[in-house]
């Protein structure tokens, strides 16, 4: 995130960490862990006795969320959205001292997402845009002025998600930019609700509804809104949501893959490897277009480089999709199943979710560590006007030093752990999808190769900005 550079980036007071074993051993070790897990699962895993989705539908709710709490949370969420907008337009230009930037980018986009993986999709209940749309009576929830076109799938959410990450990575971190973006986004959301109805738009078009519903599949709690707005909660197994259903559109598969590829792109796009792809390879491939003198042509080449960067972000989900479909094609080939590629791709898509979320956590968790201690000061002085609360004092000008050893070890643990869960879930899905245990196990060989490859890539990317002596 441009607004809050990770403190791990060779900061003044970060002592380089000498890895206790060569970096390559981490990669081999992580890949070997997945391999061993694969064999353990292959030995122990048994087909499910009943489809989980059916079981989920039958299981009664464990409790009810009090209506007053729902109302309070919804009002609180609307208040936070308004606070972010007001701080953006009227607060300080300093993104570090403006509560809007921390509220949105750190607390909501990061913290709330991680919390959703633990406590379930609370956002579906407290979504401030849904609340405001209801207050404005833009839609009665079911009836639409225009029926949502099936071909549109989740494309609106995906396009808006790409735009969100674009702003995160490429726009200058101005609170006013965030406020304008949120205002425009609110307008788009309300227009979508007005046109297609709340149910359709919040299912397919609103980024955070789609994103957090997917993340919530990992949690052991499932919320349902019954008639009369009563919210019930149901307990389920960890990651149970992933096994209870499939992706219903290929555009949702792309959305899931963008959750992963956008984080990878964020990690990659400032590495030497990425820069060399353009400056050492592409530039020479297109040399007839710019001449022979790199320095003399650098102004035009830098404009191309900007286009290359932006294209990298936009194309990243499609690149991942291509790799994913190759793996799915391999799955189809080794299992000789009658299922179509599309059916297989939809069936396995959600098994990528734990990897996407842990990779995101590994990438950004130091930012949370640094920003959350600033929250009391931002609450006391949300607009950066110099206010303070008695006894609170001024915020520290500089974050405390970070110890690189636990940072690196935590990131390794997160990435390996997330892939292990992915391998496990893919096994479970395979046992549900395929008729025979043999076919299910065979299908997991290509998936295992994909997981091992991505573990190695993920560890490498995540290690790039850290002060590690290899």
């Amino acid at each position: 995130m441009l607004a809050f550079p990770a403190a791990a980036e060779a900061h003044a007071f970060v002592q380089p960490y000498t890895l206790p074993v060569p970096f390559g051993l981490y990669l081999y070790g992580a890949a070997a862990t997945l391999l061993v897990t694969f064999f353990v699962l292959a030995y122990f895993a048994r087909p499910a006795t009943a489809p989980l989705a059916a079981a989920a539908a039958r299981s009664p709710p464990s409790g009810e969320v009090p209506a007053w709490l729902v109302d309070a949370l919804r009002a609180f969420a609307v208040g936070l959205l308004l606070l972010t907008l007001i701080a953006g337009f009227y607060g300080t230009r300093n993104p570090d001292a403006n509560i809007g930037m921390t509220l949105f980018w750190v607390i909501f986009v990061l913290g709330f997402t991680y919390a959703t993986a633990l406590v379930g999709d609370v956002f579906a209940i407290v979504n401030p845009w849904r609340t405001i749309a209801e207050w404005l009576r833009l839609s009665d929830g079911t009836r639409a002025r225009v029926a949502y076109p099936g071909w549109l799938g989740y494309w609106p959410a995906l396009v808006l998600y790409v735009a969100l990450i674009w702003i995160e990575l490429f726009a200058l971190p101005r609170p006013s930019t965030l406020a304008i973006a949120l205002l425009v986004y609110s307008g788009v959301t309300f227009a979508g609700v007005w046109l297609f109805g709340a149910t359709a738009w919040f299912r397919h078009g609103e980024i955070f509804s789609v994103l957090l519903r997917l993340v919530g599949l990992l949690a052991p709690l499932d919320y349902r809104v019954a008639a009369g707005g009563i919210v019930t909660v149901r307990r389920r197994a960890w990651f149970g949501g992933v096994l209870e259903g499939n992706a219903d559109r290929m555009s949702l598969v792309l959305f899931v893959l963008f959750m992963l590829s956008s984080t990878t792109f964020d990690g990659m796009h400032e590495t030497l490897v990425w820069m060399n792809v353009f400056w050492k390879y592409l530039v020479h491939a297109f040399q007839p277009l710019w001449g022979t003198d790199l320095i003399a042509s650098q102004r035009i080449l830098e404009r191309w480089y900007v286009a290359f960067q932006r294209a990298g972000l936009m194309l990243s989900p499609f690149l991942y999709f291509a790799v994913y479909m190759i793996v799915i094609a391999c799955v189809k080939a080794v299992t000789r199943t009658a299922m179509t590629l599309r059916e297989l791709a939809l069936a396995f898509a959600f098994t990528v979710l734990p990897i996407a979320i842990v990779y995101n956590m590994a990438h950004y968790w130091t930012l949370l560590l640094l920003q959350i201690p600033k929250l009391p000061y931002l609450v006391a002085d949300p607009f950066g006007a110099g206010w303070t609360l008695p006894g609170l004092g001024s915020p520290p000008a500089e974050p405390p030093p970070l110890d690189m050893a636990p940072i690196w070890n935590t990131e390794v643990m997160l990435i390996v752990g997330g892939h292990l869960i992915g391998v496990y879930l893919a096994h479970r899905v395979a046992l549900r999808v395929f008729d025979s245990r043999r076919a299910a196990l065979a299908s997991q060989v290509p998936m295992l190769v994909l997981m091992m490859t991505y573990t190695v890539l993920g560890l490498w990317v995540i290690s790039q900005p850290l002060a590690l002596e290899r």
């Binding site: 570090d96 590495t271 820069m275």
Partner: protein, 494 residues
């Protein structure tokens, strides 16, 4: 009539002469008038580089992506400075000190180093500098910014500073009478409870009797080294309100003033210069205490770093620098607010020490927020120190004409400050980028994206055998001897 006519003519001539004289006087007065003394706040004029130089192609100070990845930076970029000798060793860390024909530079204290500690370099032949010893007392293993020399007493000293916050309150001092082979005089842990002192930087008084340690940005601790074999802690001073809590510091010629760089990250939240009266310590008075004489804070910098008292045309100045811009490592955020993305040097007039005032900013084009768009894709923007300044040193503190400032990825920059209100750049040197060459003692040994080298050290001007040398260190290139190649900027300076 004739007489009258002659008389009138003479009057006309006299009037003409008087008028011409008065005009000349007017012109003369105009010429002698003081030059514009408006503080200089924009980027300084660029250097005029020599014909064989491999010069920067982007903004002044910038290393463009094309230079970084197209090979130009790997050859090194230079203007009026040329490398004549080098000892790369295992790489260099933040500090360099010197005496006679010897340089001393710190290293990273990596367990992978074969020669941990401060490297002692014999530079008697500038084309073949070589190591003669390594100082490996605990406090010398990673000195951060505390490695300082007393020419007067031939001592070199440092405080323990692992990671910029020493684990122990270590202190070491060596005798460098034989500069090639220093002799350890003392290596101690100061008698304070654990965690009370964490070394970061420091300074030796010119008389060599007192060492001032800096616990960033918390306290100033003063060590009596009158007997270097028996150092004694005089006081660990935690300034009330944080005014005077140092990053680094320097001591006046008369040993009675400390020029504290107050980094803005301490309790005061203010970034700039604090002039402290430390005469109690110099005169060894009972119950000594520092006293604040004056302060000068500025909003356009962060982590105030270096200070050196200098004289230009007899007037007293402080040569100061900031290690980061006002938004610290968040350069993009600085640009978003129209603030300078990097820390840069400045000259401060302390002729009236109670009212210090900035007379010029030694900015480069990269420091101008108006140029932020041209830096948007620059790797330097992605964090850490980027192009920010570190140490600055004058050619002659008593009669300064040139100053050399290390600026991390912007290399070493040399400015002509003989007119302190109109500084100009005269030379620069960016050491060759050594991607993939991870030297264990280097200050960037653990940074994966090596599209730069870090120039971070103090620089020594030295004229010998008709050649003006500049001794520098950089993280991946170690110790280097440069010479000025543009004689216009060389010979007429002595």
């Amino acid at each position: 009539m004739q007489t009258k006519r002659v008389g009138r003519h003479r009057v006309l001539v006299d009037l003409s002469i008087a008028c011409a004289a008065s005009m000349l006087l007017c012109v003369g007065t105009s010429t002698a008038a003081p030059k514009d003394q408006t503080p200089w706040t924009g980027p300084v004029p660029r250097a005029h580089c020599g014909p064989g130089d491999n010069t920067e192609s982007g903004l002044q100070g910038q290393t463009t992506l094309a230079e970084r990845l197209g090979g130009a930076a790997a050859r090194g970029l230079n203007c009026n400075l040329q490398l004549i000798g080098q000892f790369q060793g295992e790489g260099a860390y933040h500090a360099q000190a010197w005496t006679d024909v010897c340089s001393y530079y710190s290293t990273a204290d990596s367990p992978l180093q074969q020669h941990p500690g401060v490297a002692v370099i014999d530079v008697s032949d500038p084309t073949h500098p070589h190591a003669t010893a390594y100082l490996n007392a605990p406090a010398m293993l990673q000195t951060w910014e505390s490695l300082k020399v007393s020419e007067e007493r031939k001592l070199i000293a440092a405080v323990e500073s692992e990671g910029g916050a020493g684990v122990k309150p270590g202190f070491a001092v060596y005798d460098i009478s034989d500069c090639r082979h220093p002799v350890l005089k003392a290596a101690i842990d100061l008698p304070v409870p654990p965690g009370t002192i964490k070394g970061h930087a420091g300074a030796i008084s010119p008389d060599g009797r007192t060492y001032y340690g800096a616990y960033y940005p918390v306290s100033l601790y003063i060590i009596d080294i009158a007997d270097p074999s028996n150092p004694k802690l005089m006081l660990n001073w935690v300034p009330p309100g944080g005014i005077g809590a140092p990053h680094d510091l320097s001591i006046s010629e008369d040993n009675t003033r400390a020029y504290i760089m107050n980094p803005g990250t301490g309790a005061s939240g203010k970034n700039g210069l604090v002039v402290l009266d430390v005469s109690d310590f110099h005169f060894r008075r009972p119950n000594p205490q520092p006293r604040v004489v004056s302060t000068l804070f500025w909003p356009d910098g962060g982590i105030a770093m270096t200070s050196q008292p200098i004289r230009i045309h007899g007037k007293h100045y402080i040569l100061a620098s900031d290690e980061l811009g006002p938004m610290l490592t968040n350069h993009v955020s600085a640009c978003a607010q129209g603030l300078p993305p990097w820390g840069f040097p400045r000259l401060i007039d302390i002729e009236d020490e109670k009212n210090p005032k900035t007379v010029s900013l030694l900015k480069l084009e990269i420091d101008d927020p108006a140029n932020c768009a041209q830096l948007a894709n620059d790797p330097a923007m992605t964090g850490s120190f980027g192009y920010s300044a570190h140490y600055c040193r004058a050619d002659d503190p008593k009669n300064t004409k040139l100053v050399a400032c290390s600026r991390h990825e912007a290399g070493l920059r040399v400015f002509d400050v003989s007119d302190p209100y109109h500084p100009k750049e005269v030379a620069y040197y960016k050491p060759p980028v050594r991607s993939g060459n991870n030297l264990p003692g280097s200050g960037i040994n653990a940074v994966a994206n090596h599209t730069f080298d870090w120039s971070k050290s103090n620089s020594r001007f030295l004229k010998r055998n008709g050649v003006r040398e500049l001794w520098i260190t950089s993280a991946d290139n170690g110790f280097q001897v440069l010479k000025f190649t543009n004689r216009d900027e060389d010979d007429d300076r002595d």
